[in-house]
Symmetry: C2
Subunit: 152 residues, 2 copies
Amino acid sequence: MEHRIDRIKKQLHAQSYKLTPQREATVRVLLEREEDHLSAEDVYLLVKEKSPEIGLATVYRTLELLSELKIVDKINFGDGVSRYDLRKEGAAHFHHHLVCTECGSVEEIEEDLLEDVEKIVKNDWGFQVKDHRLTFHGICKQCQQETANTTT
Amino acid sequence: MEHRIDRIKKQLHAQSYKLTPQREATVRVLLEREEDHLSAEDVYLLVKEKSPEIGLATVYRTLELLSELKIVDKINFGDGVSRYDLRKEGAAHFHHHLVCTECGSVEEIEEDLLEDVEKIVKNDWGFQVKDHRLTFHGICKQCQQETANTTT
DNA sequence: TATAAAAAGATAATCATTATTTATAATTAA
DNA sequence: TTAATTATAAATAATGATTATCTTTTTATA
Ligand SMILES: [Mn+2]
Ligand SMILES: [Mn+2]
Ligand SMILES: [Zn+2]
Ligand SMILES: [Zn+2]
């Protein structure tokens, strides 16, 4: 945890931004809930638990800043709010998501899986890929099993 | 054009919805601007040119309905508005997009390209894929050339 | 034709996000 | 150190996309 915070601190300093107490509190929430996909409001409420004096606008500003620095990725699952997701340490690309249309669960895939596709995009379209967003919609393992059980 | 309209009419009827004049006008705009990625507001303004009496809420309702029937796909490029994209005829999955971070252009890829990835998702995660969203962010061919020209 | 249901129009309400304005904390120059 | 300068935060107003509501119109059905 402290190691990750230090790393992020350095990334901020490299662009001459400071890791203020409010920013640190926000980053800590993101680290603590790394496998979740929190909205700005979610982050705000969680930060408030430890730092009740923080303002919502500050959380928005911090998330915006962290997005610019590619420390977090902004993602949209189509439910009307943006969600913020810490980039995995040292990852060049954003990771992928499996969204279950039955139960709403979100699983993460850290493996790249797109090397071949990116080669095709490069060769056939002449497009130089910098990043990507890949989300699969479907039915998660658990929901499949539950359906199978109900049917039998 | 008329053929596509007929097809969509049947898809609506199959779910006991009607192709009202307002819905038809909306669908015609989507067909005429098939390679674009229009927001609800964009669609509204274009429909108004031919059918000035239509209301914005009706356009929203129609786009929502067409989304439910998988005639259009709702997509979000992170600029604060939802965009609506006609699904290619007979396509099982949504097509892919190349978004240029320099000029903002959006290219479409109709080829699937994800067969292998979906197999891995199925086998390794037990996730049954129903649909997907894949967007690459990067630099389009033209912008690359312009940069090259400027440099030389 | 009378009645019921579906859809549309008009517009108000909601709500996520952004902008603004004022206050506070950190840096820098004198 | 003290006085500017700058960066950041807090509070809150404004914006703008989307949704909800309420009334009217159109379409289907008895
Ligand atoms: Mn994630
Ligand atoms: Mn498209
Ligand atoms: Zn599930
Ligand atoms: Zn470009």
